[in-house]
């Protein structure tokens, strides 16, 4: 038993009443975080045990991930709690390569016997997979690394007393319910802490602690038989409780709720062709669906054909440097390095250092998202031999595979504001926040709605509209973009729950963007009579 492990056990015993199910992260000083490194030595010891067992059983490569996940959610409705839960899950997943065929096994039995059996099971799956193999897996090189990393936060959200959390949500709801015509409202918090240890047979041994926070708010207004709702966009962040506090939900709730009330008397949109000014609170999701997903290399190569779909950006040799995604001022960056982004990390789930690269440069498609297995598939086309570090598994019991990093539309070099965009638009609709969405399996044809819509006439916001959805084809849409906002209008949206893969896994991701204007987009009226 290492000193670290012993310290943890001691700390847990005394701190049991402080919900210390997992490793405790202690707030020491502003902007610094001290992790007590509890359990790390034990996790590392077992991870190494697992990869050694895999090697002994015949694996040429193996990695083992020990994960300890803590997820806390609180949901409220008006003056009551609709759910408080706190979940912990702990286990190990072992991935093996035998003659270039993958195997994976996972167990919650995190003991020496348990991990050894698990490693042997993974090798058995590799050998079974070999019977169907046509092309052996080759991994892009990565330098072995040893180290630890933690999300830079000021206050661990899990450790904030539950009373404080409930009080915040109730104060939020109370403020919303004071707004005339507001009948219902909901608010919630999602708080995560994940500790992951990765060991590989190539010598990597790392432990990372991730802390993420998100909130939600929704108000429903009703009058004269008409009901309208409004959801504020409160994106998840790699931040602590300080982020939740910064949202000032109780202070802003009345203003958010008022939007639902305004919707009651909004004019139903005239369907047809409109110019759109899309705020970042809506555009982030359009970026996610129509740029993020089609530039996943495994999708482009057909690996997701049976589930999430393929991609119109295929085959790579006809697309890289040749596909005009949008106008020349359009640059889209992939990264896992943006401060506060959900994708932020030091290394991915293969121990590859976090990267920043351009996916679209000057309007042209330049590169995909890759893992170690995929990098070689397109290296002759891109000249990039490294993985872009997009390997991720949502839990210890799932195998890591290519997942979306942060994908962001870079702002205008000139400082164009949202007001500048409105005043230069003669006839259009401005769209705020995310509503319903749908996109085809190759990411061409999409439909997005929002939460609030405003008609722009002669450079001014004329009135509120409702029942709007915009439907377009990805290349046509992005090439119709003629203006984007500057740096001061850049905003980071995102989600905790992007689904992909079989079995389905959920990935957290951020998307930054400025507001942008699109010319002549089809708008439908979603309230057509039936």
């Amino acid at each position: 038993m290492s000193p670290n492990r012993r310290d943890f056990v001691k700390a847990s015993a005394t701190a049991a009443a402080v919900t210390a199910l997992g490793p405790r992260i202690l707030t020491a000083q502003p902007s610094r975080l001290i992790v007590a490194a509890p359990g790390e030595a034990y996790s590392e010891e077992l991870a190494v045990e697992a990869i050694n067992a895999a090697r002994d059983a015949g694996a040429q490569y193996a990695d083992a991930r020990v994960g300890r996940y803590r997820r806390q959610t609180l949901n409220t409705r008006e003056r009551q709690i609709t759910g408080v839960s706190d979940a912990e899950t702990y286990g190990i997943g072992v991935r093996t390569l035998v003659d270039g065929a993958w195997g994976f096994a996972a167990t919650a039995n995190v003991t020496k016997d348990g991990v050894v059996r698990c490693a042997r099971e993974a090798v058995r799956l590799s050998r079974a997979a070999k019977r169907s193999q046509r092309k052996p897996v080759e991994l892009a090189p990565v330098a072995p690394v040893k180290g630890t990393w933690i999300t830079p936060i000021k206050k661990d959200p899990i450790d904030v007393p539950i009373e404080e959390k409930v009080a915040l949500l109730f104060a939020t709801n109370e403020a919303a319910l004071k707004v005339p015509k507001i009948r219902f409202c909901t608010s919630g918090l999602q708080l995560l802490r994940e500790v992951k240890t990765l060991a590989t047979t190539e010598g990597t041994l790392i432990t990372q602690t991730f802390v993420r926070s998100a909130a939600s708010f929704d108000a429903t207004a009703s009058d004269a038989g008409i009901t309208e709702s409004f959801s504020e966009e409160l994106p998840p962040r790699s931040e602590g409780w300080e982020y939740i506090e910064s949202l000032n939900m109780p202070g802003n709730a009345a203003e958010w709720a008022q939007v639902a009330v305004e919707k009651l008397t909004a004019k139903s949109v005239d369907p047809g062709v409109w110019d759109l000014i899309i705020q970042p609170t809506n555009l982030w999701l359009t970026i996610h669906e129509s740029i993020g997903h089609p530039t996943e290399l495994d999708r482009a190569m057909g690996y997701e054909a049976n589930f999430a779909g393929t991609s119109f950006i295929n085959p790579p040799e006809k697309m890289i440097g040749k596909l005009k995604y949008g106008p020349e001022f359009m640059t889209v960056q992939g990264d896992r390095t943006q401060p506060f982004s959900v994708g932020l990390c030091a290394w991915d789930d293969e121990g590859v250092p976090a990267d920043t690269w351009n996916i679209v440069e000057k309007g042209m498609f330049k590169d995909y998202q890759t893992t170690r297995e995929q990098a070689a598939w397109i290296a002759p086309l891109t000249g990039v031999n490294r993985s872009h570090g997009c390997s991720y598994a949502d839990s210890w019991d799932k195998v890591q595979f290519q997942r979306m990093p942060n994908i962001s539309l870079m702002p205008n070099a000139q400082d164009v504001t949202l007001n500048d965009m409105i005043s230069s638009t003669d006839r259009g609709i401005m769209i705020r926040n995310r509503g319903s969405w749908s996109i085809d399996h190759q990411r061409y044809n999409f439909s997005f709605s929002g939460q609030a819509y405003y008609e722009i006439k002669g450079g001014k916001v004329e009135r509120m509209l409702k029942d709007v959805a915009y439907q377009a084809s990805t290349p046509v849409f992005w090439n119709s973009m003629d203006l984007i906002g500057g740096k001061s209008s850049y905003w980071l949206g995102g989600s905790f729950s992007d689904g992909k893969g079989e079995p389905s896994q959920s990935n957290g991701v951020s998307h930054g963007c400025p507001p942008a204007r699109f010319r002549k987009v089809d708008v439908i009226n979603t309230a057509r009579s039936v």
Binding site: A16, A105, G114, N306, V399
Partner: protein, 474 residues
Amino acid sequence: MAPKSLFTQAAQDAAQFLSREAARRLTDRIISFSKADSIRVNITSGWTGNTRFAGGQVTTSGNTNDTSVTIQSTIGRRRASATTNVLDDESLRRTVDLAERLARLSPEDPELMPELGPQQYMPITNLFDSTAGLTPEQRVAAVNSLIGAGEAAWKGVNSPGSLFVAGFLDADAGATVVANNKGLFAYQPSSSVRLSNTARTPEGTGSGWASANARDWKRLDPLYLGRRAAQKAVQSRSPLAVEPGFYTVVLEPAAAAQLVGQVGGALNARAAEEGRNAFAMRGGGTRLGQKVFDERVTFYSDPADPEVLADPFDAEGFPASRAVWIENGVLKQLQYDRFWAQRKGVNATMGGGGRGRGGGGGGGGGSIRMRSGTKTLDQLIAETRRGILVTHFFYTNVLDPRSMLLTGLTRDGTFLIENGRVVRPVKNFRFNQSVMQMLNSIEEIGKSDPAQSASPAPPMRVSDFNFASVTDAV
């Protein structure tokens, strides 16, 4: 120091999930740690094994074992829950303590219902050894035969290149357990298995899909599924665009299920009474007792129906039962959870504590099925003068819950039917369609396909289906 294992090694080797006796011992132990007024323990324990393939070979595969315990503690009218999969006494005590602490800190819940006492459940056989014992080697052999069948179908076409086959085989076996300190103990072992595949032609213009799921592995036919997806891919090559607009459509069972699946969600009595769903009446009240759909439409629940992957109880331990929700187009009853039922003075038709593993949904929320007709899919096509045949949909999402207006896209085999025959493939469409309107525009309800087990909807032909735009996506 390593956490103590809950089981002996031999027991773990023999069974990959908790036995009834082991579950009883575990829940008794957890309940003994409780100082709350009431405690409920939900356990899911089991094994999953999957094999994923693409490009004709296995890409990833995995086996997983896990047992997860959720403890819900109630103190007065305060309630909260905590979950862990670390099962030594120390961790379980800590989790019980955490749930109680969270409960004490939570405000009173005016809608809290007391835990249920002992219940009677319908006996259901959901566990099959053929599935529980499915090995990685058997899975790869099944995948190889599916791929072989697909590729053989392509070879018969005499075109260059090879068919791209991707898919997923996923099996699980385990137990769902609910126990509380009021004497309720519910235990249900079950297994399920799913096999699906998508075949794409090498020039990229054709795509086909086939899928099936069942409790019993023996009911799945990898050769049939591989062949069917390949045939669809071949037939759907080089589609032409036809004008979007209102069409008669023939929906295969998978496509029909994706749309009529919305009906189950709209049966929530509270949402209807609060004006929030499709069975709400404009201006107040619900549409109970009214004709809401074509008179041939009936929706029912039967937990014992082997075609429906239902559990006999929900997360509260509330028993599932047989029920008819919509009969001959008339809305006969809505789903009342225990709180709302008490408030309204009616019998509860579901628990209200969420759905158990497998989506038991109490009164049948998770196991609603639309009644079959008598004609086969081929007959539905043969009786169509002009229409569109849809294999399945993708990315369906609600645009307006009050009319069940959905949007989404067709995928993996969309065809034009003329004079009773499939004449050519067409490009995929985006649809914007109200399910309320669709179930009032039925021309014919067909017979469920026995090869497509566990489908909640039969094939059907409906008129005036709204295709809003065309997509180039194949």
